[in-house]
């Protein structure tokens, strides 16, 4: 009798875990719903445009897209940023409620001047941020992303291995979505539109 009760409890617990993992998600979002899975937005970094220190609080009221990359990346980073820019274009005037934070994981080469010009090339909503290794380390660890440097070639160029996820935070700074490089800009625009409408 007691054993049967124990078994029922065990089955119930495992089912609950399964349900929590799979079906409680995906409420009409087209990118990956990660609400509540990661901590709210928090960082202290330097804005390459103004040279001033900014933190997560400065972006309250905006839907924030967080992406890690480096400017000497000729293909992957610009392709992702171009996709984000395309999603923002689809949003039209609503894009003013969105900010794309491009955080450099290669601060040695990404001076504020380079980063500023680079970010601006993708649109006014894109902001290049840089920080010292400690600040960068804190932020990347918080969002469980990492990066690494390849060996420099004869010309001193090196590859940087970095994350490809774009984390999306709502206007209150809570984590909501994970956009993958394979997601279509139209789908991201759809989800961003919903987050903007939530306010």
């Amino acid at each position: 009798m007691a054993a049967a009760g124990g078994r029922a409890a065990w089955v119930a617990a495992l089912s609950a875990l399964l349900l929590a993992g799979c079906s409680a998600r995906d409420r009409g979002w087209r990118t990956t719903d990660i609400s509540g899975i990661m901590p709210p937005l928090k960082f202290t970094l330097t804005d390459s445009k103004t040279g001033g220190v900014v933190n997560a609080h400065d972006f309250r009221g905006k839907v924030v897209l967080l992406y890690f990359g480096y400017t000497h990346c000729p293909d992957v980073c610009p392709t992702t940023l171009a996709d984000l820019a395309a999603a923002l274009r689809e949003l039209g005037a609503r894009a003013r409620d969105v900010r794309v934070l491009f955080v450099s994981v290669d601060p040695a080469r990404d001076s504020a001047a380079v980063l500023k010009e680079y970010a601006a090339a993708f649109g006014p909503e894109v902001i290049g941020l840089r920080g010292d290794s400690e600040e960068l380390h804190r932020l990347t660890r918080r969002y469980r992303v990492t990066y690494g440097y390849g060996r420099p070639d004869a010309h001193g160029d090196y590859e940087v291995s970095h994350s490809s996820a774009v984390y999306v935070f709502d206007t209150r700074g809570e984590v909501r979505l994970l956009a993958r490089p394979t997601d279509r800009p139209a789908d991201l625009a759809h989800d961003l539109g919903r987050l903007i409408a939530e306010g």
Binding site: T71, H72, P74, D75, V76, P78, T79, L81, A82, D83, A85, A86, A113, V114, E117, Y118, A120, A121, F122, G123, H155, D157, E159, S161, H162, S163, S164, R180, P181, T182, P185
Partner: protein, 144 residues
């Protein structure tokens, strides 16, 4: 005498022209040649679609341009990861795509100012000495 000289010169010119012509007559068709512009001296990416219209397999082994000091063929193996590629094999009748998020030419060290809207010549080099000059259109950073 003068006619002979002209004939001789013409013949010489023809002879001289033939190897050069043969070298550049690589049986390929290149379309959608474009460059994604980036500011400063950041490396840019060149994209195109190349089709082998000949009967024999071709191997793209490199590229050069007066506008860049160094061009490297790159194969993106996964998101966030790319790898220099020695060469790209193109089978007869087949195409290889160089597209954002995939294969690309990494264009480094511009020798002059380059702006969106410019046209930049890039010469593609093939195994066996063949080469093809292609005009690449420079597009904005948000090229997709």
């Amino acid at each position: 005498m003068r006619r002979r000289l002209i004939l001789f010169l013409a013949a010489f010119a023809w002879l001289a022209a033939v190897p050069a012509g043969a070298a550049s007559r690589v049986p390929v068709q290149v379309t959608e040649a474009r460059i994604r512009w980036l500011p400063g001296d950041l490396p840019m990416a060149g994209y195109f679609v190349i089709r082998n219209t000949g009967e024999r397999p071709l191997r793209l082994i490199g590229a050069s341009s007066p506008a860049y000091r160094r061009i490297v063929l790159h194969r993106t193996v996964s998101y966030g990861r790319m790898k220099p590629a020695k060469s790209f094999e193109i089978a007869p009748g087949w195409s290889v795509q160089f597209t954002p998020g995939g294969n690309h030419l990494m264009l480094m060290g511009r020798t002059r100012a380059i702006h969106p809207g410019d046209v930049v010549p890039i010469t593609l080099h093939f195994a066996g000495g063949g080469a093809l000059r292609v005009k690449f259109r420079v597009r904005g950073a948000d090229l997709r």
